[in-house]
């Protein structure tokens, strides 16, 4: 059970070279046109250059099945499934963002469902990850997925009465007054707080004062009639206020003794309406919101969002800015992994590591503070550049950090790696194979622990990651222990990247030389009338981003972070979609803990490295 650095047997997944500028040349588009003829309504190009296939909603299942199963296509990763609403009265688009591990190909399929018939076939039979994503699309847009086994609200309360929040006809603050919202949330009945499915598990009928009925004999466990084991499965509720769920996650566990029969996660307790609120903010005003989604590694979100808007603008950032973003990305990857290491160690029972990791985190926070003044909520990026250039002495401080940090990391590793309790609690639990992991849409360290070397930094390099020399660690078993090994090795690789980046950090400006995008310095704004007008327009109207759409992804510390944006040429996004890796990863929890002991739920849940701000958004 040792981890090797990118074994020779594992091939890195890389994107295939771009065929040509015309989206019609894409092999998948040609194949789809051949098979589905006029059902392919049109083919457009994304801001990043890959094709978008607009498909008749009635044929979505057939076309996606072809794309999934045909060996020439084999789109095995459903990276994202979401909706988009461009305006009141417009049809609701359902986006399927696909990625093929085998061919290294990216494709988006979009189905426009008219408002009077918001029904579309479910694709849960093709990808497991579609389960929660379709529930979210139903919750936010009201699109009904035919054939989905459990289509109910996921982020909002089960019986939310106000409507579908991400539709354009839904007011930002909801339909009811604030006092009515408070009154309703505090007087929710039994059925609103608990899902009917779990109430049925507990024997709830909905009539009578207590609402609970006696379980019928046939509902009991099959072997419940034997003398050794009498009784019924036990239902326990874990969370939303629980120290080991890493936030306000609620798990309903059905137990047979200590074995888990069924685990139903409930999310949405931290639903913050990011995607709706961002539609009411100007492009640069969205940046502070991105911090607060993944508050364990905030700059990764800042950098991902800025990159997405820059792809819409078709803007090339300066060489210095690229390197600075790489340095900050990797620092934040370390920051996120360190918090994961510390909290996981506490969950398993090792307190020392928590103190060690927080000591190192404070040092990274000091670097954050020196750069932007904030510890957690950094908001460092602006479209076209950064909030400021690196302050004097920052590079030396960062060098100092990465020189002494590996020693602490090794110390933590020595405390844990061969620790009998650690190995005993972590080995061979929560195991998932690479195929299942892809079907569940796992990305990041969770996927790589299962042995698949898929890393966005290598597959579709951004910010010039192809110029850096680093390895992608992969595991062999796909269990919790492998996820630990992979994350620890990733921190070492991040240190390598930062070392190289600090060495090659070029001089020059950090912002692009375009005052239509970045704010001119005050001295220049006061010096010439053109610059002053540019300054005035940026401040008063905001940045105008050309009409278009993009789905830009980066490798966050949790997995693949995808940012889907639609612009209509205005100063605010029409749709701001965040494909949060934690949301997809936590959906695999029921599968991972099936049949494990109840104490292992803590370890498996911790190993997924979820952050609730990102899950619930």
């Amino acid at each position: 059970m040792t981890l090797t650095q990118t074994p020779a047997s594992t091939t890195l997944i890389r994107s295939e070279p771009v065929q040509g500028a015309d989206p019609g040349d894409h092999p998948s588009v040609i194949a789809l046109r051949e098979r589905f003829g006029s059902d392919v309504r049109r083919v457009t190009t994304d801001a990043l250059g890959y094709p978008v296939v607009w498909l008749a909603p009635a044929r979505n299942l057939a076309a996606l099945r072809f794309l999934h199963e045909d060996p020439g296509q084999s789109y095995d990763l459903l990276a994202d499934l979401t909706g988009a609403h461009r305006g009141v009265g417009m049809p609701i688009e359902v986006w399927y963002q696909l990625w093929s591990m085998r061919h290294g190909r990216q494709l988006r399929v979009v189905c426009e469902t008219p408002l009077d018939d918001l029904t579309i076939d479910s694709v849960t039979s093709l990808w497991d990850t579609a389960d929660w994503l379709e529930r979210e699309t139903f919750d936010m847009f009201g699109v009904t997925f035919r054939g989905h086994s459990d289509l109910r609200r996921i982020l909002m309360p089960e019986n939310y009465e106000e409507g579908f929040p991400l539709r354009k006809d839904f007011p930002l603050r909801g339909r009811f007054s604030r006092s009515e919202q408070v009154r309703r949330c505090l007087t929710r009945s039994f059925e609103d707080v608990y899902a009917m499915r779990e109430l049925e598990l507990a024997g709830y009928t909905g009539d009578g004062a207590s609402g609970l009925r006696e379980l019928q004999p046939e509902e009991r466990l099959e072997d419940a009639s034997t003398e050794e084991l009498e009784g019924e499965p036990m239902l326990i509720n874990m969370g939303p206020q629980h120290p080991a769920t890493h936030g306000v996650l609620r798990l309903v566990l059905q137990l047979d003794g200590e074995r888990i029969l069924k685990c139903i996660p409930h999310i949405g307790y931290l639903h913050t309406g990011f995607e709706k609120t961002c539609e009411y903010r100007e492009w640069n005003q969205v940046v502070p919101y991105t911090d607060r989604m993944d508050y364990l590694a905030p700059m990764l979100y800042n950098i991902g969002y800025a990159g997405a808007v820059e792809s819409l603008l078709d803007l090339e950032i300066t060489p210095r800015c690229r390197v600075v973003r790489v340095i900050l990305s990797e620092l934040n990857r370390i920051l996120g992994h360190l918090l994961w290491l510390g909290t996981t160690a506490i969950d398993i029972g090792a307190f020392t590591v928590f103190l060690y990791t927080f000591k190192e985190r404070e040092r990274i926070y000091n670097l954050h503070e020196a750069y932007c003044g904030g510890r957690i909520t950094t908001s460092v990026t602006r479209v076209g550049g950064m909030v400021a250039d690196l302050p004097v002495g920052w590079v030396d401080a960062a060098l100092d950090f990465i020189q002494s940090f590996p020693a602490t990391l090794d110390e933590c590793d020595r405390l844990l790696k061969r620790n009998a309790i650690w190995m005993g609690r972590l080995s061979d639990i929560g195991t998932i194979s690479a195929e299942d992991a892809v079907s569940f849409g796992l990305t990041g360290p969770n996927l790589r622990a299962s042995g698949l070397a898929y890393d966005v930094r290598k597959a579709r390099p951004y910010l010039g990651y192809e110029e850096y020399d680093f390895d992608v660690p992969v595991g062999s078993h796909g269990d919790v222990y492998d996820r630990y090994l992979v994350r620890l090795e990733e921190m070492r690789q991040s240190v390598r990247i930062i070392e190289q980046a600090l060495q090659r950090l070029p001089d020059g400006p950090i912002d692009v030389d375009d005052y239509g995008v970045v704010l001119p310095p005050k001295s220049e704004a006061m010096g010439s009338i053109d610059t002053m007008i540019a300054h005035f327009k940026l401040v008063m109207e905001g940045l105008h981003v050309p009409a278009g759409e993009t789905w830009y992804s980066i490798e966050s510390s949790k997995g693949e972070l995808g940012i889907g944006l639609i612009s209509d040429g205005g100063t605010k996004p029409v749709r701001c979609r965040f494909r949060a890796p934690s949301f997809i990863n936590i959906a695999a929890l029921p599968y991972l803990v099936q049949g494990e002991l109840v104490a292992d739920v803590i370890a498996v849940n911790a190993s997924l490295d979820v952050v609730l701000g990102e899950i619930d958004r």
Binding site: V88, M156, E162, P165, K168, F170, P171, L172, R173, G174, S177, R178, S179, E180, V182, R183, R184, C185, L186, T187, R188, V193, P240, Q241, H242, P243, G247, V248, G268, Y269, L270, H271, T272, G273, K276, T277, Y280, P288, Y289, D291, R292, Y295, L296, L339, T343, L355, F358, K359, E362, Y365, R375, I376, T377, M540, E541, T571, K572, L612, G613, D616
Partner: protein, 242 residues
Amino acid sequence: MPGARVPSSGSEMPKPLNVIGGEGTELDTGIPRSWLTTKIDYVVNWARRNSIWPMPFGTACCAIEMMAAAASKYDIGRFGMERMSFSPRQADLMIVAGRVSYKLAPVMRRIWDQMPQPKWCISMGACASSGGMFDNYTIVQGIDQIVPVDVYVPGCPPRPEGLIYALLMIQEKIKGETLSDSSVRDEAPDSVGRPNLPPEAIELVAQPFGNSTKQNRMSGLVQTAAVNRPRDRKERLAEHKD
């Protein structure tokens, strides 16, 4: 001790009580005059404020700063408060760290109801105190609509020092409490699960202001000047000419 109530009759101060031994008596320690008289309020408050068990109700970013406050560098153990009680029934102080959604609000109220008196509440961060930058359909616009709050900590998120200062303020607040005023700690049985404020007050404190001046409740529903996109100057000039 908590059962002791000193009757407050008019302006008469509570009678000082002997805590260790009676007047003129000596304890077995052999040290003469090893007794002191004090107010029971003082002793009770002294005991309460130096052994607060916080119940961390951490939801979002602020919870990470709360963890940092408990970790090696800031170490709230120095104030006798490091014993985080994850069970509300053994806690004195609820620290609400982070944004609270309407889905989570009944959970928070239930936890508050489960905590025995005496209890205090810290609202940590802008989101918990006022909804912060999330003036939208899902976030409670200040947890004081749901539970009573003793100390609000500004910041997004507040630094660990901010939380520590709030804990010291809670200690100061406890210092000033008196057992003779039972109304401070009385709870009406029917307040369980109820909002902390009447509907009119909720409407008042949730009024849009600050970053929301451009919005109203109908934003996005009807075309008002507030929701119109800023147009290009040329476009407006052309309109003006017609």
